[in-house]
Amino acid sequence: MALLEIQGVTRRFGDFAAVDDVSLAVESGEFFTLLGPSGCGKTTLLRMIAGFDLPDEGRILLNGEDLADRPPELRPVRTVFQSYALFPHMTVEGNVAFPLQMAHVAANERASRIAAALEDVRLTGFGKRYPHELSGGQKQRVALARALVTHPTMLLLDEPLAALDAKLREELQIELINLQKEVGIAFVYVTHDQTEALALSHRIAVMNRGRVEQVDEPSKIYGFPRTKFVADFIGQCNLFSGSVSSNARNVVTIDVQGLGPVRVTSSSSIAPGAEGTVALRPEKVRIMREAPTDSPDNHYRGSVADLLYMGDVTVYRVATPGGARVEALLANSQSGRAKFFEVGDAVEMTWPVDAGHFIEG
């Protein structure tokens, strides 16, 4: 039995289903992320787990117990809010003491619990400060200490790093990973930032329009997106759509307008004539000046239409004579120069048959 089970949960606001028949299971000790664009229902789902909102249909079970009749204050889960929501009239200690007081923890035990929680988030010595005397990162750590001090069954985090700048965010991401490992409590993390989700999670549920599109480990989400939405939302991705012209010996061939036949390894049993899509990460595309000497599975010609120099890598957008666009990404570390190609250069593109990922539809 999973720690948290979400069974067929739907939440409607008027005619609009913010969460639409979602079923998920989160294991104990797991770092589970709900990922999706704004308005996809991830925060509504989190609020229903916390108890601030109730499902119109379906059930939410924690340790096998239906939470429907429990108000938020009686659920053994804690939330870390995006705005930190620290109590401005209480010191750091006062904030961390609050849930202990609410749980009627004895005063003599409280002090040691507070000290331990502050140590967990590396804020020892900050106990007497007021929230307005702290930086954004410190505030977020106080919110974490306050949520963890009562040893909840599960921690819910609602975009906790969204308000921080990029550098601090990366630092806190590493701290979050370590903290979660240390305390061993299941985290359910909500974010719209796909790199954050990939970096932090054991498993990710990608949500779109209230529905779960895919639940998988980060590498599977990235490497084997099940839907076009997942492929497009997670990182950059070339999506080549067209009708299937053949499916034999685990290789599907699709006719892509402007490009030609694209071959991809797949165990799909899709019949010729049906619609299909090949998802291909830009870093899997090889581009070069001379035609390859061998005969690769996928080989096309084009010219560089535009490029984005991003320091460590350069993104090239290659236009084919037929009018298709292929995105390719090259690491700049392999060359002494800043860029391999200039706009207008004629290039050859190849990728192996197993580089792409086939999606039906």
Partner: protein, 303 residues
């Protein structure tokens, strides 16, 4: 632009132009009268009222502290003062008890209704103060429905009928009625700024409705509470019209005493002493309220 002698002069002139009129107003209508009153409090009363000449024929100044001595030695004046403070305190408490739920309700109502509700709170100001006080004479009068109902109820349990009018009850009821908006407005201004996420966080951390109010909402609203308390207590302390019109002989407040000294007894020095004591008491209390409010505002939620 670098500040030059010319722009500096212009800025100074501009500052005086803005600050001048209110400053002049305060000097002419507040500082000078206060000074006159302070001087008057040390002078002797005139033979036929008003003030005795400042100096006698020999040119010797006639200044003394006899009026102050009278206030502090004749216990009846201190008693009236304490009674006024007691009435003002009760008024403040009742206003707080009534205003808090009302301000909360307004702050939590949908945005489009808030302005309308606030307008309703200040609507009584559209009719004259004295008319509103006289209206209570009718409401509490012996032939009005309220008094009849109360006396019928008292009669049914064998008690003698009472007069609602000309009593401490009437004075306090009207004091609370008149001052309620002054408590509602600063409380609303404070409560309206509260971050809803704090209550969600408190609930998430295990706080029930009472703890959410007592540990989060109430302490954060203290600046508003003290601002409202000062706005109610200070005018209530000095009021004279309400006890004059609705009070009985025992409901004399310090304001009535001051009015009597100036208009009827015509003992201006003693009237000045009473006014000064009232002003000093009000200033001390206002200072205290401001100090507590500032301490409460340390968390970043102002009045």
């Amino acid at each position: 632009m670098k500040p030059t002698a010319k722009t500096g002069r212009a800025a100074r002139a501009g500052r005086w132009l803005v600050m001048g009129p209110p400053l002049l107003y305060l000097v002419v209508f507040f500082a000078l009268p206060a000074l006159i009153m302070v001087v008057a409090s040390f002078r002797s009363p005139g033979e036929f009222g008003g003030l005795a000449p400042l100096s006698d024929e020999t040119g010797k100044l006639d200044l003394n502290v006899e009026s102050y001595a009278r206030f502090f030695t004749e216990s009846v004046y201190l008693q009236v003062f304490v009674k006024s403070a007691w009435y003002a305190t009760l008024t403040t408490l009742f206003c707080l008890l009534l205003a808090y739920p009302l301000a909360t309700l307004i702050a939590q109502s949908p945005k489009k209704y808030r302005d309308l509700l606030l307008l309703l709170v200040i609507l009584p100001f559209w009719s004259n103060f004295l008319i509103r006080v006289y209206a209570w004479m009718i409401i509490l009068g012996p032939n009005a429905a309220l008094a009849r109902m109360v006396n019928a109820a008292l009669g049914s349990v064998g008690l003698a009928p009472v007069s609602l009018l000309f009593s401490a009850f009437a004075v306090l009821t009207c004091l609370v009625y008149v001052h309620l908006p002054f408590m509602v407005l600063p409380l609303y201004a404070n409560l309206e700024k509260h971050d809803r996420a704090l209550l969600d966080a408190a609930q998430d951390l295990g706080a029930n409705a009472w703890n959410r109010f007592w540990r989060i909402t109430f302490p954060l609203s203290l600046p508003g509470v003290f601002a409202g308390a000062a706005l109610v207590f200070i005018p209530a302390l000095g009021i004279f019209a309400i006890p004059d019109i609705l009070g009985g002989p025992d409901d004399t407040m310090i304001g009535n005493l001051i009015k009597t000294q100036f208009l009827e007894t015509r003992d201006w020095p003693f009237g000045s002493v009473l006014s000064i004591v009232l002003t000093v008491a009000a200033l001390v209390l206002a200072g205290l309220a401001a100090w507590v409010a500032r301490r409460g505002a340390r968390g970043g939620v102002g009045a």
